[in-house]
Symmetry: C2
Subunit: 507 residues, 2 copies
C-alpha cells in the first residue's frame, strides 16, 4: 500500500523564505514522520519528497507505506507549523488536498463486480486482488482528521468481501431438533384470523389491529415467559424507548446499513402553529395531506426501534458499572418495533409493526455465556415441552452482523459468541423436510460489542452482553399453524390461560 499526497497549506501571512519553516521541513523525515512506526517498518513511514513556499502558501508532496500514512503526516506537519506561529507570525488557515492516491491496496480477493464509493473517491482501478484508489481533491480536511481515508480503504475492502457472500444461501448449522409433533391444522392461520375478525389489516403495509382473543393468546405467551423464563432466572422488567435518536443506531452500528429497512422519524423544525398554517389550510380545503409541505418543515431525528435492545444502552451509556450489580438481567415488552420489509409482508408471519419480548443480559464473559445457555434451555423447554411445538435450533449469522450487512458466521465462535435461531414448522407451507420453517426466536452472546459501542465499563473487568428476542406474532403464527383454533388440541399450559370470547360481529 503506497500513499501519494500533494497538498497546499495556506497561511494567514506570507511565509516565503522563513528559516523556521525550512528547519522544520528539513527535519521531518528524521523524526516527525517516523514517530510511531513499528520497529523494522520505518521504511514504510511517510517521507516529505518535495516542498516549496510561495507567498502565503506551502506546497508539499508526501509519500508513505502503511505506517504513519501520508494523510497523518500532513496533519502532524500542520500541528508543528502552527506551533511555530509566534515565530513566523502566521498560522495555517486552510489545507487543500491537490492529489491523494493510494496504490496497491490489498483487497483480499478479486472483486466480482465494480466497486464504488459514493463520497470523496474519484476512481478505483482494480488489478487482480489489488486496487489503486484516487481520492477527490475536494475531500475536506475534517474528514481526513476523523480518519476518513482509512475508513474509505476499509470500506472498499469490505465491499469486495461482501460481493463474495452476496446472493449466497443463508449460512446456518443445525444444532438440535425436537421430536415430530402431532399437527392439527393445515391452513395459513393469518387468513383464518382475518376471516374470524380476530385481527384486521390497517391502511398500512404489514400492520394489524389485534382483537381480544388474539391479545389473550399474546398475554398467555407473556405469562408463560414470566413464569418459566424470567422469574426462575431472576430477570426484571424495564421500559426501553421505542424511538431511537440517531446516537443509538450510530453507536449500535445499524447506521452502517439499516437504511432500506428502517422506519424514519421526523419532527418539526419549528413548532409554531403559524408555521404550519399552510398544511392545515391544505387539508381543510382539499381533504388531503400536504406531503411536500411537511417534508420541507421537518428534520430526521432517528428511527423507530428495529432490534429493540439498542436504545436500552442509553441507560448505562458512559458509566462504569459496579461489579456487584452484575449480571444485569432484564426484559422489555413495552411497545412495538418496526421493519420496512422490502421483500413483502406475509400475514402475521412477516409484519412491519411487531411485538416482541426482548431479553437482555450483561455481565462478565462467563456470566453472559452461562445466562445465554440457561435462557436457551428455558426457551427450548417452553417451545418444545409447554407449547409442544415442532422446532429446530440452528447456529446462524449473528443478527447484529446481519443487520450491519454481514453474511458470515462470527469469527469468535470459539469464545461462545454467536446466535442460535429457533425455527418452527408451518404445516401450511408443505412437508416438514421440504418446506420453509419460520424463525420465531433467537438467543445470542454478543460479546463486548454493545458495552464498547456505548462506552460502558465494569469495575470487574471485561463486560459482555447477550440477548434473546422473538415476536409474539411469530410465536402465535407457529402455534396456530401447528395446533389450529380448536382449544381441545391446545396444550393445557396455554389453553388454561386463554379466554376466548365472541369477537365483534358484523352485519
Amino acid at each position: 500500500m503506497l500513499f501519494e499526497l500533494e497538498a497546499v497549506l495556506e497561511f494567514s501571512n506570507d511565509v516565503s523564505g522563513k528559516k523556521e519553516i525550512e528547519e522544520l521541513m528539513e527535519s521531518v523525515n528524521k523524526e516527525l514522520f517516523k514517530r510511531g512506526a513499528p520497529k523494522g517498518k520505518e521504511e514504510e513511514a511517510s517521507k516529505l519528497k518535495e516542498w516549496s513556499t510561495e507567498g502565503n502558501k506551502l506546497k508539499v508532496r508526501i509519500t508513505s507505506g502503511r505506517y504513519v500514512r501520508a494523510p497523518d503526516a500532513l496533519l502532524r506537519l500542520r500541528s508543528q507549523l502552527n506551533l511555530l506561529g509566534g515565530k513566523i507570525k502566521a498560522g495555517v488557515r486552510r489545507v487543500e488536498i491537490r492529489r491523494l492516491e493510494v496504490k496497491e491496496v490489498e483487497l483480499g480477493r478479486e472483486p466480482s463486480e465494480e466497486v464504488r464509493v459514493a463520497f470523496y473517491v474519484d476512481r478505483i482501478d482494480v488489478k487482480g486482488d489489488k486496487a489503486d484508489i484516487k481520492f477527490s481533491p475536494s475531500i475536506p480536511i475534517d474528514v481526513i482528521e476523523a480518519g476518513g481515508v482509512d475508513r474509505i480503504i476499509e470500506l472498499i475492502i469490505e465491499k469486495v468481501e461482501r460481493q463474495a457472500y452476496e446472493g449466497k444461501e443463508e449460512v446456518k448449522r443445525l444444532l438440535w431438533e425436537s421430536k415430530e409433533k402431532e399437527v392439527f391444522f393445515d391452513k395459513d392461520p393469518s387468513a383464518e384470523l382475518e376471516k374470524m375478525n380476530w385481527i384486521r389489516r390497517t391502511h398500512s403495509k404489514g400492520q394489524f389491529v389485534y382483537g381480544r382473543n388474539f391479545t389473550s393468546i399474546v398475554n398467555a405467551v407473556k405469562e408463560i415467559l414470566v413464569e418459566h423464563l424470567y422469574k426462575p432466572l431472576g430477570f426484571r422488567e424495564m421500559l426501553f424507548p421505542k424511538f431511537e435518536p440517531w446516537d443509538v443506531p450510530k453507536r449500535s452500528g445499524h447506521a452502517k446499513s439499516i437504511y432500506p429497512d428502517a422506519y424514519y422519524v421526523m419532527v418539526p423544525k419549528v413548532s409554531n402553529p403559524k408555521e404550519w398554517e399552510e398544511a392545515m389550510d391544505y387539508f381543510r380545503i382539499t381533504g388531503e395531506i400536504h406531503k411536500e409541505g411537511i417534508m420541507k418543515k421537518v428534520e430526521p431525528v432517528g428511527i423507530l426501534s428495529y432490534a429493540q435492545c439498542p436504545p436500552f444502552w442509553q441507560f448505562l451509556e458512559g458509566k462504569v458499572v459496579r461489579e456487584e450489580s452484575l449480571p444485569i438481567k432484564i426484559y422489555d415488552w413495552s411497545g412495538p418495533t418496526y421493519r420496512n420489509e422490502a421483500g413483502g409482508t406475509q400475514g402475521i408471519a412477516r409484519v412491519e409493526e411487531f411485538h416482541r419480548a426482548e431479553t437482555l443480559f450483561i455481565g462478565s464473559p462467563a456470566q453472559v455465556r452461562e445466562i445465554a445457555k440457561k435462557v436457551e434451555d428455558r426457551l427450548t423447554f417452553i417451545l418444545d415441552k409447554l407449547l409442544e411445538l415442532e422446532i429446530k435450533k440452528y447456529s446462524v449469522v449473528p443478527w447484529w452482523m446481519a443487520q450491519e450487512g454481514e453474511k458470515k458466521m462470527s469469527d469468535k465462535e470459539d469464545e461462545g459468541i454467536g446466535t442460535v435461531d429457533f425455527e418452527a414448522y408451518l404445516p401450511y407451507k408443505g412437508e416438514r423436510k421440504r418446506s420453509e420453517w419460520l424463525e420465531i426466536q433467537n438467543v445470542s452472546v454478543i460479546g463486548e460489542k454493545y458495552p464498547k459501542a456505548f462506552s460502558v465499563k465494569s469495575t470487574g473487568g471485561e463486560l459482555w452482553s447477550g440477548c434473546a428476542g422473538g415476536s409474539f406474532e411469530r410465536w402465535i403464527c407457529a402455534f396456530l399453524s401447528q395446533k389450529g383454533f380448536e382449544k381441545k388440541n391446545w396444550p393445557d399450559e396455554i389453553g388454561r390461560r386463554v379466554k376466548l370470547e365472541e369477537e365483534v360481529k358484523f352485519a
Copy 2:
C-alpha cells in the same frame, strides 16, 4: 353571501352557433340552476347572467346567493353540456375559472387580526363582520368538485372564530375535589428518580429509559386498573397500532391541526440497498448520518400515534356492527405514543414518548353515557381511595376538539358529550390553592364523531363512543410527588404490588 363567477368551458371541437347549446343556456335559469333551492329561497339560486361562444370556447358569467351556489351551477352546466355530447359532437375538455368572488360572507364577528388562507385565495377584504373573498383563478376544478370553495369559506369563518379564543385562559369548570391528603414529599420526583438511577434521559428530548423499580410501579398501576376498573366493568385488552398511516389522522380530524405537535414517520421510497449506498458510505466514512440524502429518499406515510385510540378504529372501519356485540369495551397499553412538545418537556410530568392505558367504549348513546359514568367513578375511586391522591375533577374542552384547534366547550354538553379531566396536586409546585396541578387522566363521551369518521354503523341505530386515557408517567409523577419514595408512606394497595430492588450501581 353573493357569488360571482366567470369561467370558460373549453370543448374538444368548435361549438359556436350550436343551437343545442343555445337551447340549454336559455333554459338553465328556469330549471337546472334552481333545482334543490329551498322553497321561498329560489331567488338565492344561481343565475346565468351572460354567455357567449367563440370557436371551441364557451364563456359564462354566473351569480348566486347561498343556495345552488355559482360553483355548483357551473358543475351542473358542465354535466348537461357533456350530455349533449353526441348531438354537438364535442365534450368539455377543460374548465378554466376566470374570476370567482364571494361577497358579504358573514363572519359571525369582527376579526381581531388579518385572516389569510394559504391556498387558492388571492384576497380577503374585511368590512366589519363581513368579508369579500377573491379566489385565485388558478383554483383547480377538482378542488371545486371536492367542495373546496365551501370549505374555504368555512375555514375563514372558523379562523375568525378562533381569533376570539386565542390567548384566552383554558376553559374549565370544577366538578369535584377530593379531601386534602397528607403529603410526605416536597421535591420534584423526576430529579429524584434521575439521581437514584431509576430512570435515565436518552439522547432525545422528553424521553427516558425506565429502570426496574419505576417499571414495577408502572406494573402495579396496571394491575390496579385491571382489578378495579377493567375486570369489574368487563373490559377486554386489545393491541392498537402505534404507527398511524395518514388515513387515520385524516379521518380522526387530527390532520386539521396536529402538524406542529406530531412525530412524523417516513419510509424508503425504494428499498433496494443499492439505492442507499450513498447513506451507507457516508456513515462509514464520516461517522455521521447523511440526513439530506435520507430526506430525498423517503416519503411521509403518517404519524406516530398521538391520542392512542384513533388507530383502533381501523378494526371496525366501514362495517356495520351487530347490536348484540354492543357495547364494545376494550383497553390497550401495547406501546408508547408521542407528542412534540413545543412548550418544552418537564421530567416525567411532560415527556414526548409516553405510556398510557387507553380505555375505549362503543355503543348506543345511552350505553356510552352509562359506561363513561362508571369508568369515571372507578377512576375516582382508584385515585382518591386506593392511591389516596389529592385530586380535582374538571369539565374541560374535549380533547378531540382541543386537538383540532378548538378552545371552547362542547356545544352538545346537554347530550352528555364532553371531557372530564382529573388533576393532581404536586406539592413541589407550591401551595395547593396557588400552584399548577397536573392533568393525569381524562374520561370522555365523544358522541358520534369516531363511528361517523370511520364509517362504522350499528344495526341498533345511533352509534357513539367514549374513551379514557392517562399516562403512567403522570400518574406516577403525581403519586411520588405526594407520597415520596418511602414505601411506609405508600397506601398498601400499591405498596404490596411494588418490588423495590437496588438499581444498577455506577462507580
